[in-house]
């Protein structure tokens, strides 16, 4: 098969079953790994491939796996973060729906690499319908011997369990996910200790995003160099860029890491409808600070977005067209964070609610520059002070929006 044809995501959802997956070369990587590689070698390969987490944080996957103490006895777990909830993001849904076996195979390889016998897939509650297909794929894999006690005749055994969430964005944060999986409210834990040392049920745990894991088979099949070649040296491979909003062809596009943002918007997603212009772009999910039209000449990779004062995050691009009142966008933002705050720590619990109250008042009764200053200041009181990254995820985009669209907002609230 030509290298360029290697795709994580099939074009439709007709080839998700084991039969199709096998025909396309599925589970060859797992076989290779189990028959001819040592776990440490797998970790090295993934590290060399520059695979960065595709959940939002962008942390190098190989490095994360290396944090699990090799000699630690006792249980170990792999948690798959399928709690996709970052607004503007819908790629993991498609992996689960169109290519669940890529995920299962990725889980298998990862579990082997870190010596983990049990994996839990935490699927957001709203994806219950989708996870039915995932369960089927898992059952298929078990029947075919790709999961279970002695996989492909090796000494390695793995059990995979699908665990439903129940409507809480915060459970996408890795330690909140662990809390939720253990049967408690999804409130993040203090770090240290880190999950690699003390995680699920107090055991060493690796937590990875769906797309991250689903990308692993490619690496082991075609090699780290190949993967790096598809993307960038420290940020290898292709990624699933989701794009929605005012574009002609919203959807998920599997493109090399480093693809220019403009190319995704204009070429792949077909640009905006006739006569419409870009007003703003959210580049990586709602928590990624908004970019103005003049800021869009960016390669879409973790480091470039960070340098531009935003983030690649979950690579969920939302194109906001001209004519959109930014006060309303601010409202959507403020409402989201106020609703999804877990409530554990002071700045986030009260700060997000306070900001929403101000925005609601501004919409209802107008206000002035001092109100906008206050929003920025309150976001500043949240930034860097919270127990988990949700705080920054709320503060930074709110500050960016209010700062970059200050003029329009001042006009909108002046009455």
């Amino acid at each position: 098969m030509p290298e360029t044809e290697v795709r994580l995501l099939p074009a439709d959802d007709a080839s998700w079953r084991l039969e199709s997956y096998l025909r396309e070369g599925g589970y060859k990587a797992l076989r290779r790994v189990l028959t001819s590689m040592a776990p440490a070698d797998v970790v090295t390969e993934v590290r060399r491939a520059g695979l960065r987490g595709r959940g939002g944080a962008g942390f190098p996957a190989g490095a994360k796996w290396g944090f699990v103490p090799q000699a630690a006895a006792g249980p170990r777990y792999l948690c798959v973060n399928a709690d996709e909830g970052e607004p503007g993001t819908f790629k993991d849904r498609l992996v689960l729906w169109r290519s669940p076996h890529a995920l299962v195979e990725g889980i298998g390889i990862t579990a082997f690499a870190v010596g983990i016998p049990k994996a839990f897939i935490y699927v957001r509650g709203e994806y219950a319908h989708i996870s039915e297909r995932l369960e089927t794929a898992i059952a298929e894999a078990r029947t075919a011997g790709f999961l279970g006690p002695r996989i492909l005749g090796s000494d390695f055994g793995l059990d995979v369990v699908v665990h439903p969430g129940a409507g809480a964005y915060i459970c996408g944060e890795e330690t909140a996910l662990l809390e939720s999986l253990e049967g408690r409210r999804g409130q993040p834990r203090l770090k240290p200790p880190f999950p690699a040392a003390v995680g699920l049920f107090r055991s060493p745990t690796v937590i990875n995003n769906v797309e991250t894991l689903a990308s692993v088979p490619q690496i082991l099949l075609h090699g780290a160099d190949w993967f790096v070649g598809r993307g960038l040296p420290k940020d290898g491979g292709t990624r699933l860029f989701g794009i929605s909003g005012a574009v002609r062809r919203p959807g998920v596009y599997e493109l090399p890491v480093g693809t220019p943002l403009r190319a995704i918007i204009e070429d792949h997603a077909g640009g905006l409808p006739e006569g419409r212009r870009i007003k703003a772009v959210v580049p990586g999910g709602l928590s990624a600070p908004v970019l103005k039209p003049e800021e869009l000449d960016l390669p879409m990779d973790v480091d470039s977005l960070a340098k531009a004062g935003s983030m690649l995050g979950s690579a969920g691009i939302v194109v906001i067209p001209d004519g959109t009142p930014m006060l309303d966008v601010l409202h959507v933002m403020a409402r989201f964070y106020a609703h999804e705050s877990c409530g554990k720590c002071t700045p986030c619990r009260i700060g997000t609610a306070w900001i929403l109250k101000i925005v609601e008042r501004l919409k209802r009764a107008g206000g002035g520059p001092a109100d906008l200053d206050l929003i920025i200041a309150l976001a500043g009181g949240i930034k860097g002070r919270t127990l988990c990254p949700f705080g920054d995820g709320a503060a930074l985009p709110i500050q960016a929006l209010v700062t970059k669209f200050r003029g329009e907002l001042e006009e909108a609230v002046a009455r």
Binding site: I170, H339, C342, G343, I350, T386
Partner: protein, 500 residues
Amino acid sequence: MSEPRRVRLTIDGRTVEADAGTNVLKASEAAGIDIPHFCYHPGLEIEGSCRMCLVEIEGLPKLELSCSTLVREGLVVRTSTERVRSARKDVLEFLLAEHPLDCPICDKAGECLLQDDYDRHGRYASRSIETRERREKKLPIGRRLILDRERCVLCSRCVRFLRQVTRTGELGVFERAVRSEVGLVEDRPVDNNYSGNLVDICPVGAITAEDFRFRTRAWFLTRKPTVCPHCGRGCAVFIESVSGYPLKRSDSRVYRVTARENPAVNGHWICDLGRDGRHDIDDGRTAGLAGKGRELPGWTWPAALARVGEAIRALPAPDRRARLAVVLNSRMTCEELALAKSLFVRGLGLDRIYFADAKPGAGDRLLLTPERVPNARGVLEAGFDPRLPGLHELAASKVALIFGTGLAAHFPEEALAEVLAEIPEKHIFSSHATPLDRLADTVIPTAVPAEKSGTYINVEGLRQTFAQALRPCPGVVTEGDILSGLADRLAIDAGRDDAR
């Protein structure tokens, strides 16, 4: 157990030594530097949610929690830079934006961490003009405790205490985001013997005790340390009393008993039995000097004691052993017991001393011991063989000296009355009134443990000396005073320690 390793770190420019494994907040406090906090409590697991204790740690870009950062050799900590001050102000401003202006009616005023912290670390002009969340303000949660959800700062100390210390878990946190609130399941209210600690540990006035609500102000209370006498544990407590302020006679002197930290005995907690013991201090006290059930105004206790001395002297020496019955109690201090030994055993030659105490009860896994007396070990160490008198033994006596109210716990009132009727001379020295008082020849009111000083030996053999925490009511004397007074009158050298 080996000594913990010591590390040296720098806090605000000063070199400080601390045990490895200590958190920066504790190490700072030990060095005299207070770091404000809400959720942190040394008796509970770290929570890290209030974000008030953030400090600068050199080498780290963000502010870090001092409650969860452990000391390390060479750590450099700054607790009052501009960044830290600003972070504290912000936390306070957030908390106060959702906090009711209840100070004028809140019992916690004067001992509220939010007030104290605003005073020391706030002092900003509030920027909040939005409407606060309105919540339930008077939710009974069990054990006569009231929860005010508007005041609650969600430090979760109460929830953690009930999960980690009592392991009864009656409280939880419901909802999320700003709607988060402490709550419980209706038919499972707080119901354990440590519920009173919830009021102590709540940093604000969210959890209050019905017993204490609206009765006084924290700054009117005088706080004195002593040892709880209601079981054998000997927990460290504070007696908090008001004497004369406001300038009216109040219904009680003692407003509350609170926990005092003692790592060797009770850690940070005391039990409700001990807390409720405050009623023991003020309620049902022996009214005054009496004889044969009548108040005897103008009679002083030395005169009454003289009469007791007469009665004893009137017994021929060979008869004393058989005819002088002495009943002591295990609330007496070691010093008082020594006096009793000198007086009755060495001085008067008695070979049997009786003890009548409150009956034992169920102990628990935390502090409460089955024995409900504070000095059972002291009694043994003094060489007594404590046993309850038989009714026939009492009836056979000619002079009975009864210290305390313990007999009533073991014998029915009518039986005791019958017995007392047969004893020619019976004298009662007790802190609390009983129906037998009307039958006694003399009744001298004695002090409760909070009103005296002395030493108790607790259930683990630990000697604890305590000072008087409360001035006795007029006319009340200690058992020690009575014993040495008797010794004087009988010209017996009792070698009394001055423990008054």
